[in-house]
């Protein structure tokens, strides 16, 4: 970004103001692509932890396939982020050589997998969010972002088709499964609000039609989740209580552990390829 602005300011002083705006916009765009990539890779990694640990074989395969979708999504956003950054970094360097403080994923995505009910409630929350979010992001004025959203929404719709019956089944199953759903809701409710927070740079992007104003999705999200859970007589108040910090690089104690496992191989053998 620095390079592009200095190149052009040499040729004409009158464009300096415009270039500064452009450069800022580009930097915001980079942060945006990187944040969405971090979101996807962290959840993708969490889901992959179910590999060989799921309640039964089909579920094992399903969870790891959802994981794969998120890792694919992360790759698309990382690739775009590296291009916007323009420093010749690879997607692997973005994922494996950035520290906890440099990661800007939302906190709800980094929480440990917990039991199966916890994983599915989080997935349900996230699926409902992405369904609302990506439908709007598809119309981004940034064509690359729009294309990634168009690809991802197809996957998210399918994920939701899978998480909903699980929430229904566990909510209406045994006393044990119902209590686990309630416990998961209790643990997750404070983290949901962060999905709808708009940092200033993201608001600027939304004004340009590049990003989506997350705040406008909250009401629909609440209504959808409350109605769905209500049908199984599960009460869910709202998504207002907030624990936040992910976008600023302030994380729960869990992210460091996740990264140490995820990044171990590349840190031990930098540049290793399959």
């Amino acid at each position: 970004m620095q390079a592009t602005s200095s190149n052009k300011t040499n040729s004409s002083n009158t464009t300096i103001g415009a270039e500064k705006t452009h450069s800022l916009l580009n930097e915001n765009r980079y942060r945006f692509a990187l944040a969405l990539a971090d979101d996807a890779v962290v959840l993708g990694h969490r889901l992959s932890e179910w590999c060989s640990n799921a309640p039964f074989l089909e579920e094992d395969i399903a969870l790891t396939n959802v994981s794969l979708d998120y890792i694919g999504r992360a790759r698309m956003f990382y690739q775009y982020a590296t291009e916007l950054e323009g420093k010749g970094h690879s997607e692997d360097q973005m994922a494996f050589f950035r520290t906890e403080r440099e990661y800007t994923n939302l906190l709800i995505l980094e929480l440990p997998i917990g039991d199966f009910a916890f994983t599915m409630v989080r997935q349900f929350f996230v699926d409902v969010f992405y369904k609302l979010y990506l439908e709007q992001l598809m119309t981004s004025t940034d064509e690359r972002i729009a294309a990634i959203a168009a690809k991802s929404i197809k996957e998210t719709r399918y994920h939701l088709k899978r998480s909903e019956p699980w929430i229904r089944q566990l909510s209406e199953g045994t006393e044990e499964s119902r209590s686990r759903i309630n416990r998961a809701l209790d643990e997750l409710k404070s983290f949901v609000g962060e999905l709808f927070i708009m940092p200033e740079w993201e608001t600027q992007l939304a004004n340009e039609g590049i990003a989506v104003d997350r705040k406008t999705l909250q009401q629909d999200w609440d209504a959808y989740v409350q109605k769905f859970l209500g049908e199984s007589n599960i009460e869910f108040e709202d998504s207002k209580t907030l624990i936040r910090g992910g976008r600023e690089g302030i994380h729960t104690e869990h992210l460091g552990h996740l990264l140490s496992e995820m990044q171990y191989l590349q840190r031990a053998h930098p540049g290793l390829e399959w």
Binding site: G44, E58, E59, I61, A62, N65, V66, S67, L68, D69, Y70, I71, G72, R73, R75, M76, E143, R144, A147, I148, A150, K151, S152, K154, E155, Y158, K161, R162, W274
Partner: protein, 179 residues
Amino acid sequence: MINHEGDHALQIPTLHPVFAERIKIRSQSEYQKLWTILDSVHDPELPGVTIWDLGILQDIKSHADNAFTIVITLTYSGCPAVDAIKQDIIKALSKAGYDQVNVEISLTPAWNTNMISPEGHKQIAALNIAPPVTNDAPDCPVCGSHKTQLLSQFGSTSCKAFYRCEQCSETFDYFKQLE
């Protein structure tokens, strides 16, 4: 167009507009030889199904003499077969004397099952995998029964779901419909 998949008697053999668009790109291309060579490249997870018929192969471009860009799209964004597909494309073309080839992954238009050719449907069925149907209620590819049951929304790969036939008890993969 009547397109009620369960009702075989009423099926009219028309091309889906999404696939018709692909045929147009291919038939208007200057590089017919390369398209034909690439008909020998199969999806590594679906031996017998070509990358053209599956809808992965999207376009062939050339910016300089004898230098080609093969444009492909991924079925699912995390598809691990992508590197193998790239290599297979480069290998097939290099065997035919084209050694300046690079493979570009395009995100638009996003892959969907309407891109699969009618031939592709047959190739998928020949592997005992039920091809995509609009109501996600596939017939058993082994005995043809309508009575099938979903076991898992994901099968051996992201693009498939896992079913069981209630008639012959055989389990089978179903290639998921994705619009």
